[in-house]
Symmetry: C3
Subunit: 265 residues, 3 copies
């Protein structure tokens, strides 16, 4: 792995590394601020960007999708701290992964899955640094946030992590290529229902999209290709097929849920 | 328009321009972070301040009121990015407006209305800059955020926008001056109900306020002018008449909704 | 009090003081941004960290606990702005407290209670600075935020505050030491139920924990000491006894509420 941050040295402002935060901590308690304090203690100049703290509690798949979206959005050299950690206090490892020229620090519980698959793997190590007295219940604050800060402050990866680790991955969502059948894997704030069907799965741009019994019609380019209140299928900002309703929530209007089957015909 | 940012050059810290963000994206998904990444790519030193990402989905009026409050709060030179954009993918324009010595970038769908009326207009141009391949579904990330970053980084307005545009405005809330009758236009987190009645509409400081059948009494100066649990009318931080209940939610206690009529008598 | 910020001068980056924000303002309206604008007007280089804006409306006890957690997390020299202020517009004072080498600005209504008790008091003054025309309804924006910014910008405490004030404290939660009986005082985002029982109250590490009729068993070290779905008692990140359910919400599963009695046996 040698020089771990080749891109960072080329950044215009190396003194303000960007660290993003993703968690299921919610925003009511002081947990997120406690992680930020721990980062700033190591890297007073780090720029902190919240991705989401409203991952549903302990929902690793939701967190994995949001984390992949964050890595897709940010530039080389960015450090991402992701904490959805139902196994805190167990022997589960903590990972430092270098994927797509960015660094991810997260528990080894599948949270890296989407990022790993999207960019076809990367270099993964196990974080071995530990504080003298970490709590048993809040490794985000006590271990992962300080580690993110250390890397941002220029500490070498080798000094806090050891030999490549193989990350735990969530089972692949059952996209059956032959049958062009996928499923709803994520529902966003607007009620748009993202499937696991990529653009490359399309046999023809003119195929119809079916959700259960509902024929959504052919794939559209944008919401305004249908009337307000009408359902449509389109490729969203993640470049995956989405089921939407123009001007409303598809999840509510069509009563869709994560796991519902979506077919191309 | 010539020199667009005369005030910015007088700011103490021109290398850290302030960009605020207002949207209906919610905080669970990675959408807001994706906009921030796009801004930072253009302006690594920009200071990003969230105004709200909990505008109710596609509620342009709510967004317009919050945006006006942001412009009221910030200093000359601030750049405001506001994205409530049900028309994304249609031919709707994107505006760059200079109002009250600040800059607003938003879709041309009425979102500028409150700011425009409060400061009696301003200079508005149409954003013409486009990336090579914008998505059809996320112009906040692909067009508006980069444009905000470009302006923050010192790019000239003329290079990314063209000739004055006339903004689309929402219909004026029907404040009938003669009858001193207005309506509830906004309900905040505390359940305080803001009306469209300005201080200047008062014929007398001793008039009574009526909401439907309920006589709220005369206008008070602060919450503690009534007992806990009692309703009151007062001028809130936006200098518009508000209906409140001391120590509780007026919306819930009095069963008030947006559009309910409020009279001065 | 003399030199008020002895620690700040030793900080690596004195030009970017940290100011945290805690309030019950929610995130939908522009209230939080208005406070930030007021801070930045005084201290353009301040680093702003949100602790929580989802304190339940006017819930001073919840705010006091979150504020103590923030002070526990941050370094000497940090300034904390906390606004849960049902008494805005009354004669209630505004405090500037120096506790645990940090500064707290908040209304004098008990919000300081937990911080005060945890660190056994501190130095408290009354903020006397006022703007020319403060509103009667938003002292967070008009008085407290500017004061936080002034201190961050290096203004002396003496110039804006006067002689020691004695803070108002909330009544102590009725932890009966002899009987080893406490109560649930805070329920977090995960449904973990924090009690007012500190580690020092334990007569023996092998005692059982009882919540109402439910015997939770002995105190565990971490969530994974029980099976998924099982309840447990453990010392959480605040070092107070918590009732949890592994992988679920104890509040929901065990139907617990703030005020429920918890006994050690």
């Amino acid at each position: 792995m040698g020089v771990f941050y080749p891109k960072m040295s080329t950044k215009p402002n190396p003194t303000t590394p960007v660290i993003t935060l993703t968690s299921d901590f919610g925003l009511a308690d002081a947990y997120v601020a406690a992680m930020k304090a721990a980062i700033l203690r190591q890297a007073p100049n780090a720029r902190l960007i919240d991705v989401s703290h409203q991952i549903p509690p302990q929902d690793i798949l939701f967190g994995a999708i949001v984390l992949e979206r964050a890595i897709d959005a940010f530039d080389p050299g960015t450090i991402h701290l992701a904490v959805v950690d139902p196994g805190v206090g167990t022997a589960r490892k903590i990972l430092i992964a270098q994927i797509h020229s960015q660094t991810i620090i997260c528990p080894d519980n599948g949270l890296i899955t989407w990022t790993w698959r999207k960019w076809k793997g990367g270099r993964v190590r196990e974080l071995t640094w530990r504080p003298r007295q970490p709590s048993r219940t809040f490794h985000g604050r006590d271990i992962m946030a300080p580690a993110a800060g250390m890397l941002a402050a220029g500490k070498s990866l080798e000094s806090i992590a050891r030999k490549p680790a193989k990350p735990i991955l969530l089972p692949q969502a059952p996209m059956k290529r032959g049958a062009d059948t996928g499923e709803i894997i994520y529902i966003d704030h607007f009620g748009n229902c993202m499937t696991n069907i990529p653009r490359t799965a399309l046999a023809s741009p003119r195929c119809n999209v079916l959700v259960g019994e509902i024929n959504i019609g052919r794939i559209r380019k944008t919401y305004s290709d249908v009337e307000i209140g009408q359902p449509l299928a389109l490729f969203g900002s993640a470049d995956l097929l989405e089921i939407a309703v123009r001007g409303a929530s598809a999840a509510r209007e069509l009563r869709l849920r994560i796991g519902d089957e979506v077919r191309l015909q």
